[in-house]
Amino acid sequence: MPKQLCTFYIADLFLGLDVLAVQEVLRASELARVPLAPRHVEGLLNLRGQIVTAIDLRRRLGLAPRETGAESMFMIVRTDNAFVALIVDRVGDVIEVDPGSFEEPPDTLRGAIRGLLSGVHKLPGSLLHILDADQTAAVPAHAA
């Protein structure tokens, strides 16, 4: 069965999350800062009366920080055990992928993305990195 993925971009990475885990996508708004919070936590967001923790995916993935004033979007991710806003650079289309194009991450993959990446889809001209929604929204082991 083809799977639907919500795609987005961070720096020059082309990423995707299972569309069922993504509740909504919002234009970035001002956040309430949390002093002394772990580095990957950008702040708190009021989502229609609910308080949602915003996580900077760039920091989470170990990428260079976003330039000040650069555009960003919030992806509200809701899974069985998490409810967070992921901050991404740009949101792409919802696409259908062929399960046949899926491949596990290479063994040589290093860095912060290792535990978050469930695999890649080989699309014509690009590789779509599939993030595991649960892992991405979970508390990183070292920041607890």
Binding site: V34, P35, P38, V41, I51, A138, A143
Partner: protein, 768 residues
């Protein structure tokens, strides 16, 4: 299929009776104790009587029959032909249990099951009544049966008059005639004799139905909520206002020219109304903990009776409100703890007498709001936890190693009871002792973000403290600003506000070494600068005034210095995400009027972060009061003499005089070295010298040629010379001072002779 109207009746009956039966249970317990108001019996009689009538109308004959039997027994109590005995109380309590079970079945299946199931119980209830009637008749003292009583309930008399058991066939046919009026299920009379004779069998059959039914009660309880009528009226008014505002808004939207002021006016109105509406609806979700506690008197009674113990239960703070969902999830853990306390904690009356305690055990359940959390304490005066035994048990089960066991602090050892598979009960009872339980309690409470803490004194009792976050709870809070951010401080931890302006701002804040303090009515108040504590950027325009929010945490107060103080507001507490669980200084977050989130400060967490109170320190009972103060001045309340002196750069220091032997002066040239340390020859011995300036700060560059002023100090049988600068005076002071946790080598500081003086902790320096 039942008609809608009938469904509605059934729902009402279930809901009404549920409440009625809660009152019924409490009333029975009070009646048994003998402290019930005179009308109590009538009241609970009505509960059962109403149920009987409604159930009869709706065709639930098992309920009707059981209620009837209970009613007959109660009537005997009411007319005074029968006195309350523990057996009767148990019978009546079992009645409410069975009625609840039947009601649950009605709620889920739409029928109340075969009448045969309850036949035995109904028989027992009636037998109980007749037993006394029989004795009454036998003994002339009681004056016989009230004839009106028998006339009152024909059916009851029918069953009872022939006696119980002996003429079973009579008993069964007789009611069949009486009950024919209500179109009873055919076959029930035929089953009845069997039920009467072999009473245990139907009871056993009925029991397995309970667990499944239990789950559905929760559902039934959750589907309705009692709301204060005044609150409901207020909500209705608010909705009315909202409609009016909407009408105005639509009108404006249609008009050609719009005055900006009128839009502003309406937006303000809508803003206000929605906020109040939101708050009102939130309040409907809050329920007093008493709703859950109501069943505990009964649990306690039953468990205690089963174990042959006497227990008195006190409930304190029943009206503490918390969110319904939380209320539901603490029901089971609390029941477990209570059962545990009675089973493991409180001793048998004989054992208590041996230990010199009153035979009746005392169990207190206390609930209160503190620091944005709900605290629930379950305190017993029982045997306490035998730590040695707990350790041994954990060792035997392989949960800890011997080495670990030896290293465990008392506190950690107590925490072992939360390990899965550990039970300290000598023998396994039906109530507890299977080693599943406390770990489940802990997991369940942690699941809702709470924590459990146990403190126990062997032979004195155990207290279990549960802290639950006030998810969704509404608390009044003070809004403060620091470093450009807003924070809410729950009013419960707030003591007072102090504002220092102009001259007093410049001079008001003093320092104990490097720790800022403020003199609040003669006492030193340690200060914490919120902006620095949270590593926030400094305010854009620093205010020359100081705003000090005096907070109470763990029985110690401290001043939180903030940039600005705005209003107090009722805030809705929302829990923080797992990502932010590691930040103890925040109790949660809330959404402010402008829609932006703000963090809620936790006074204890801030104090711990600022090291005002120790990390592991929790609220202790009254006996723990002043522990910290004790360590600051061992002689609290007793006036001791203090030697005032100064060091170059530190002009106000004091140490207790009682251990100072002499004051001496040594020429600079007499200093020699012994084992790498400075020493002098003093009365034929080598006396090591300790330069205080190296331990408590101040400059060391004393003129090299100046003679040394030394306090000869006795420490564990040898003399030590403390090198000081100037010696000023000897004063009397009670030594009570503020502890400040930061500076090493200091006991704390006190106001002596009108000035802040640091008290030197000599043993700490000598053994550093």
């Amino acid at each position: 299929m039942k008609s809608d109207l009938q469904q509605q009746f059934i729902r009402d009956m279930v809901a009404e009776t549920d409440e009625g039966l809660d009152r019924y249970d409490t009333a029975i317990l009070r009646l048994e104790k003998g402290d019930a108001p005179p009308d109590t019996l009538n009241e609970i009689f009505r509960v059962v009587h109403t149920l009987k009538g409604t159930a009869g109308c709706l065709g639930f004959h098992s309920i009707e029959k059981l209620a009837h039997a209970g009613e007959s027994l109660m009537d005997a109590l009411r007319t005074g032909t029968l006195g309350m005995t523990p057996d009767i109380a148990s019978g009546l309590l079992k009645l409410s249990e069975s009625l609840r079970r039947l009601l649950r079945r009605v709620d889920t299946n739409g029928n109340d099951g075969p009448a045969a199931e309850i036949e035995a119980q109904a028989g027992q209830l009636l037998a109980m009544r007749d037993e006394s009637a029989a004795t009454d008749q036998a003994g002339p003292v009681a004056g016989g049966v009230d004839p009106g009583d028998s006339a009152f309930d024909v059916a009851g008399a029918g069953v009872s008059a022939p006696g119980y058991g002996a003429t079973a066939p009579d008993a069964s046919t007789q009611p069949a005639v009486a009950w024919g009026l209500f179109d009873d299920a055919p076959g029930a009379p035929a089953e009845a004799p069997a039920a009467l004779v072999s009473a245990p069998a139907p009871v056993a059959k009925a029991v397995p139905a309970t667990p499944a039914a239990d789950a559905s009660t929760a559902a039934a309880n959750n589907s309705t909520v009692r709301v204060d009528v005044a609150l409901l009226d207020r909500l209705m008014n608010l909705v009315g206002e909202l409609v009016l505002s909407r009408n105005q808004l639509t009108q404006i939207a249609q008009s050609r020219t719009v005055r900006p002021e009128s839009v502003l006016e309406i937006s303000q109105r809508i803003n206000l109304v929605t906020a109040e509406l939101q708050e009102g609806v939130m309040k409907t979700r809050m329920q007093p903990i008493g709703n859950v506690w109501a069943k505990f008197p009964r649990v306690v009674r039953e468990v205690a009776r089963e174990l042959g113990k006497e227990v008195r239960l006190d409930l304190v703070g029943s009206n503490t409100e918390l969110d319904r969902t939380i209320l539901e999830s603490i029901r089971d853990p609390l029941t477990h703890i209570v059962r545990n306390s009675i089973d493991h904690g409180i001793e048998s009356p004989a054992r208590r007498a041996e230990a010199g305690k009153p035979p009746e055990g005392h169990l207190i359940m206390r609930a209160f709001h503190e620091g944005g959390q709900v605290n629930i304490e379950i305190v017993d005066d029982g045997a306490g936890i035998d730590l040695a035994r707990v350790k041994q048990k954990a060792l035997n089960r392989g949960l800890i190693t011997a080495e670990e066991g030896a290293r465990l602090s008392d506190r950690d050892a107590t925490a072992l009871i939360f390990l899965p598979g550990l039970s300290t009960a000598e023998k396994i009872t039906r109530v507890s002792g299977r080693g599943v339980g406390m770990d489940v309690v802990k997991t369940n409470i942690e699941k809702i973000g709470g924590s459990v803490d146990v403190q126990s004194t062997l032979g004195r009792g155990t207290s279990i403290k549960i802290k639950i976050p006030l998810t969704l709870a509404i608390v009044p809070a003070l809004i403060v600003h620091a470093g450009g951010e807003r924070f809410a401080i729950p009013q419960v931890s707030l003591v007072e506000l102090v504002r220092l302006e102009g001259e007093s701002a410049a001079r008001g804040i003093e320092r104990v070494y490097d720790t800022p303090v403020f003199r609040l009515r003669g006492n030193l108040l340690p200060l914490v600068f919120l902006q620095k504590e949270l590593a926030l950027p400094p305010a854009a325009e620093p205010d020359s005034a100081f705003n000090i929010v005096v907070l109470q945490a763990d029985r110690r107060s401290f001043g939180l210095v903030v940039d600005a103080i705005s209003d107090t507001e009722e805030i809705v507490v929302k829990p923080l995400d797992l990502h932010l669980k590691g930040l103890p200084m925040f109790a949660g977050a809330t959404i402010m009027g402008d829609g932006r989130p703000a963090l809620i400060l936790d006074a204890l967490g801030v104090a711990q972060h600022a090291k005002i109170v120790g990390d592991g320190q929790e609220h202790r009972g009254a006996e723990g009061l002043g522990r910290a103060a004790d360590s600051a001045g061992q002689a609290e309340g007793k006036r001791t003499q203090w030697l005032l002196f100064s060091l170059p750069g530190r002009d106000r220091l004091a140490l207790p005089l009682d251990q100072a032997a002499r004051l001496e002066e040594f020429p600079a040239g007499s200093i020699e070295r012994s084992g790498g340390r400075e020493a002098v020859q003093y009365r034929g011995q080598i006396m090591p010298l300790v330069r205080l300036s190296q331990h408590v700060g101040g400059t060391t560059d004393q003129g090299a040629s100046e003679p040394l002023r030394v306090i000869v100090y006795h420490d564990q049988g040898r003399s030590v010379g403390l090198v000081v600068g100037q010696i000023h005076d000897i004063v009397e002071h009670d030594g009570a001072g503020q502890k400040n946790g930061r500076a090493p080598g200091l006991l704390g500081s006190a106001v002596i002779g009108g000035r802040i003086t640091d008290l030197i902790d000599v043993p700490a320096i000598l053994h550093a």
